[in-house]
Symmetry: none
Subunit: 210 residues, 2 copies
DNA sequence: TGTTTCCTCAGGGTATTCCCCGAGTTTTGA
DNA sequence: TCAAAACTCGGGGAATACCCTGAGGAAACA
């Protein structure tokens, strides 16, 4: 029997999960908390998996992952949240969470996730995996077409701009006049369709123009 | 019958693929090229899918994707390569490739991929998807720690900078003085450890500070 | 109840970017 | 081979970003 704890400030969620797992012969909810402080103070060492809400009254569950894991190194944490937000997932995983579930999960998925993290595997729902993949690949195939081709010189200069070179430094580095560099900068802003260097850097990184 | 073309400078690869698909009733290799120039010049408009090698004598297949797609907007490109390199995959997809296959692929996978891209879906082998996922999840745990925490106000302003707002526009938007915005900008540059807005935007996007 | 951090704002100045104009040379490609 | 595109450079000016110093009020924290 796998002992699982849950931390969520909404009692309804706790009860929901409890009900969901009531009939399970493999998993049991042995503890429930409504805040990070409670969890850190009261978690029983026998608990193997913690379902941890992200929005808690006394702080972010994501941030708390680190601290909790420091005291309970063998614990596996599954983040539990309403938000399908890529950056949340990343942060949670980076802070040591092994899984990330949405609150509309079902019994099968919940048990699968618990078993997976207990086995040392990472567990992410399929749609979350797809979101991460999309984010990682960028949405460029369509949008890239909108950006006119940059010339080699323009790409070169754009690369240096991203590396924080000023116009003067660029000119010195590639042996051309600062006026020429200014021309290229203006053309870049024009071509890419932004209004300043910040936009230039953003679009370049987002779409991998360089 | 789906008409497929292949571009690869190794005739052996071409013949291998041809043999692999010989028995297929759905897919046929109708053209084969050994360079980008040949491909661009000779590709028949009827061809629906192009298997494109990445290393070609007259340039990179990845770069060529854009040009080829400009001339054949309805074509679907599957990159074909020996390299399991995440950045290659990303670049290929960003340049419009709909799939990325390793050369040790088998018949089933090849046909699956062709059908998928033809249906407008992206096709990546499972191990490539996993690599992307790992890369996406695992990059920042160390690097994020190097950056001092930004305050809420700083994050807010950084977000607006990335959206190309000028100091004046930011001040107007959040109802504070331009001088205050300048303070925040200076502090941001200081904290993040860069020397100008370009660096600020780059680091913010790279490490997901906002 | 202090101390620190955050947020606010200012003066005054320098550096850099951005934009307008025009124009010559070189390279590319049909 | 001829036109287009790319690369080069200039003057001059307005807008924006960046730096330094200093400082008061508010909120968070111990």
């Amino acid at each position: 029997m796998i002992e699982v704890a849950i931390t969520d400030d909404h009692v309804i969620v706790i009860e929901g999960i409890r009900t969901l797992l009531k009939s399970s012969k493999e998993v049991v909810i042995s503890q429930a908390f409504t805040s990070i402080a409670e969890t850190v103070g009261g978690l029983h060492p026998r608990v193997q998996v913690l379902l941890l809400d992200i929005n808690l009254p006394d702080g972010s569950g994501i941030e708390a992952c680190k601290d909790i894991l420091q005291r309970f190194p063998n614990l596996r944490i599954i983040a539990l949240t309403n938000y399908e937000d890529v950056s949340f997932v990343k942060q949670a995983i980076r802070n040591g969470a092994m899984g990330y579930l949405l609150k509309n999960t079902d019994k099968t998925q919940l048990i699968d996730a618990i078993k997976a993290v207990l086995a040392g595997e990472r567990y992410l729902p399929k749609n979350v995996r797809e979101m991460l993949l999309n984010e990682s690949l960028g949405k460029a195939p369509a949008s890239a077409a909108f950006i006119p081709k940059l010339t080699n010189r323009e790409k070169e200069i754009l690369g240096l701009i991203i590396k924080e070179y000023t116009t003067e430094e660029i000119a010195a580095k590639i042996f051309i006049s600062t006026k020429t560099v200014e021309s290229h900068r203006s053309n870049l802003i024009q071509k890419v369709g932004v209004k300043n260097t910040a936009g230039l850097v953003r679009v370049a990184l987002e779409r991998g123009l360089i």
